[in-house]
Amino acid sequence: MVTVKDYQSPVTPTWCPGCGNFGIHQAVKTALAELGLAPHQVMLVSGIGQSSKLPDYTHANGYMTLHGRAIPCATGVKLVRPDLKVIVHSGDGDGYAEGMGHMVHAARRNIGIVHIAHNNQIYGLTKGQYSPTSAQGTRSSTSPEGSIDRPVNPLLIALAAGATFVARAFSKNSRELADIIKAAVQHRGYALIDVLQPCVTFNRVNTYEWYSERVYPVSQEPGYDPSDLNWALRAAQIWGDRIPVGIFYQTEDVPAYEEQVPALKAGPVGLRPIRPLPPEKAQALKAAYM
């Protein structure tokens, strides 16, 4: 039986005490263990940033790549080894600034990747610049008079791009987050989980208290129906004094990208033994040029 301890790494996290990443880390390990997935059946792929150090602190296949590029790296993993459960960890800068283009394409492709965006509305590793999710007017070292950019709405973008699983969670509610992650891992295709996460060092506005006062289950919204895209598009626009969390949208009716790739019908290509071609195949290839 797989337990959370199987995912225990000897490496001690360097996150600040109280960092929201701890709750996300715990939830991921809990979800994977409860699904009975062993560390060698999982690949955690991240970009660069504080959130992206998570694979270093986890005993599982892990790949810490480039800022913004976790999704294409993970896509490559999934396309040759669809038997692996592939989970991307990005931050809001990593995933929604440099990586936003890739997210849109992953969503429209419905590639079988769980994308967990650690969203703390600030750049932590580079010490406190405003991020794509920072509220307009956020004062930071790169926006001393207050940011002019309006924040992105990742849920709305994902839905518009064709994502088939869109959720939001709060890192403090680790149990609820674990359940969402479990649903996402079992989902067919791309799943975005936007995780609201306090940055205890650089974000003095969006604190644990700030979130705790605002978050409530999206299922409490009238007419809650996560199978209805139009309902989800409306619910994704709720943000302010009250912030809904939970699964906004989910459909299992769209086949995942990897299910539709002809070369994968015979199984994961990454497991195909590599041998020189038999002479008749070589001859057939040459014949086209004679």
Partner: protein, 580 residues
């Protein structure tokens, strides 16, 4: 009369089927047992402009295209004006009588073969689009080439069954055009072709040869983003995707393409991407990711003239310094620059072995000229029998079963190569990071670890020298002129040598194919004692000559450089010899 030694050019607008017709005619000539070297020349547009396709055919050994043309077939007035100047005395230009041409500037001795081609096409029941087929029929009629070779290609292209309407119409047009040209002009045309009994040859270019090499090497994944002239590699692998078990992905951009390939490599698959210089520019950061995390990945970089968009459909060898130095920091990489069809095929599979053996990026540097020129080669040139699969220090499931303690993915070793495990085995679980890391793959900033890890990675470059092929010397050991070139410079240099030999001038040629790690010792030894060294490259700054100087101290002062986007021709080299 001259037999079996001539050059054709077919010119027209984009959309008139110049390239497809030219390629079809080249195949017909190859099937007639002739040797062929064909060069397409087209502009970066879908309609209009002036495109041409040049085919040299002969029954003796020659190495490249040349500048002399014996028969020009012009579908437009611009094509008439442009190609009439290339004609040798006695050569002829064919065009439709309806074109109003100005003959005042035509060179002496050029024959005017204006024919009612459109009427011939119409009379044979063909459509306006079949003017190009008529041209091929005319070429057969003028040269005496047996039309059955042309018929065979038409049937292959439009359907083998007689009675298929497209094939039938084209065949009728070809016949009518052949008959007309034979009846009215053939007697006056001094250049003839005749099928020869020769062993069967392939007609192929560098891009397909390299793609077949990759398939032979067991490629499992390729991602790319369309960019001339690299994209045909992705297209060709994609066409064989299901049959050969290769997942291919047309990605959202080149950054995604190489990252997907690196992800696939991290997952234990043989993975590659194909692009040109502009796309490679976008891939640069990820190249360092592969270097740092020791992930095998192959990049096929088919050069075209830069900077920026440059000349999209033309050729240059100006990315050499770029690929050698691309990405921040220092890490081992291997750069191969095939020059021939044989080498393009060989490096197509060899690159995967080297990438996995040394766990680093391997760049195969080709160019538009090598990629798109079509030439006849013996079937053995694609040496499938010689393919070796070497996955390097990849751990087997049995070896992983026997593993004691936690797996050190980046273990320090004398060779610098650490045994690698594809994911999926409980004992082969590890994390890797683009940050500096320790032997387990964990992020580590310790100074000693950094020094040891840098040295371990860079040791791989030294270890890889065992697999680096030395440059090849062609011609006599001692000669009046020693040419030095790399990649596709091979063809025009070999042809220039052949012409020089006929003139009684001895020359030899050092052809560099494996570029990095640089085979400095072999190059220095080969050039020691050379009387007159002449480097030949398609770029402005003489990048290979510069690299030779940097790595061996040998300063090559005489350089023949071309940077107008056109392939180096043998004549260009001969003029350069006089001019330098």
């Amino acid at each position: 009369m001259m037999k079996n030694d001539m050059t054709f050019v077919l010119g027209g607008e984009a959309g008139q089927g110049v390239e497809s017709t030219g390629a079809g005619f080249a195949l017909a000539l190859a099937r007639a047992g002739l040797r062929v070297f064909a060069v397409p020349d087209y502009r970066s547009r879908i309609r209009g402009g002036h495109n041409f396709f040049q085919i040299r055919a002969g029954d003796y050994e020659f190495f490249s295209h040349n500048e002399q043309v014996h028969l020009a077939m012009a579908l437009t007035r611009e094509a008439v004006d442009s190609h009439v100047r290339q004609l040798v005395p006695g050569g002829a230009i064919v065009y439709d009588t309806s074109l109003k041409v100005d003959k005042s500037a035509w060179p002496d001795g050029v024959q005017d073969f204006a024919m009612p081609i459109a009427d011939l096409v119409q009379g044979a029941g063909g459509s306006k689009l079949m003017m190009n087929t008529a041209m091929v029929g005319i070429a057969a009629g003028l040269t005496g080439l047996d039309l059955r070779f042309v018929e065979g290609v038409i049937e292959d292209n439009f359907g083998r069954k007689r009675g298929d309407s497209m094939a039938e119409a084209n065949l009728k047009v070809a016949h009518a055009a052949r008959d007309y040209a034979r009846a009215h002009f053939a007697e006056r045309f001094p250049f003839k072709l005749e099928a020869v009994d020769a062993p069967k040859r392939l007609l192929i270019g560098g891009n397909p040869a390299m793609s077949l090499g990759a398939l032979a090497g067991g490629i499992q994944f390729m991602a790319g983003y369309p960019m001339t002239p690299g994209s045909p590699i992705l297209e060709m692998i994609t066409a064989k995707s299901a049959e050969f078990g290769v997942v291919t992905k047309h990605a959202e951009d080149e950054i995604a393409a190489i990252c997907m390939a690196i992800g696939a490599g991290r997952a234990g698959a043989r993975a590659a991407t194909a692009t040109s210089g502009g796309g490679f520019s976008l891939m640069v950061e990820a190249l360092g990711l592969a270097g740092m995390t020791e992930v095998p990945v192959v990049v096929f970089e088919v050069q075209r003239p830069g900077p920026s968009t440059g000349l999209p459909t033309r050729t240059e060898q100006s990315d050499l310094m770029f690929v050698l130095h691309a990405s921040q920091g220092e890490f081992p990489r291997i750069v191969l620059a095939p020059g021939t069809i044989e080498e393009a095929f060989r490096d197509g599979w060899r690159a995967f072995n080297l990438a996995e053996k040394y766990q680093c990026p391997v760049i195969v540097l080709s160019d538009h000229f090598l990629a798109t020129s079509l030439q006849t080669v013996p079937p053995e040139a694609l040496d499938f029998g010689g393919v070796v699969i070497d996955r390097g220090a990849m751990l087997t499931p049995e070896q992983l079963d026997a593993l004691e303690g936690e797996y050190k993915r980046f273990a320090f070793t004398d060779s610098g190569i650490s045994p690698w495990a594809p994911p999926g085995h409980p004992k082969g679980v590890y994390r890797s990071a683009s940050d500096e890391h320790d032997e387990y793959g964990s992020i580590e900033e310790d100074a000693t670890n950094r020094r040891l890890m840098m040295e371990k990675r860079m040791r791989k470059l030294e270890t890889s020298r065992a697999d680096i092929l030395p440059p090849k010397l062609y011609g006599p050991e001692r000669a009046a002129i020693t040419f030095v070139s790399w990649g596709s410079g091979y063809y025009p240099v070999r042809e220039a040598m052949r012409i020089l030999a006929q003139q009684g001038v001895s020359s030899n040629f050092l052809h560099i194919t494996d570029v990095w790690p640089f085979p400095a010792q072999a190059v220095a030894e080969a050039l020691r004692g050379a009387k007159r060294i002449m480097s030949v490259e398609s770029n402005y700054t003489g990048q290979m000559a510069g690299l030779i100087r940097r790595e061996t101290g040998i300063h090559i002062e005489e350089q023949i450089l071309r940077y107008d986007g056109r392939p180096i021709s043998p004549e260009y080299i001969l003029r350069g010899l006089e001019g330098v």
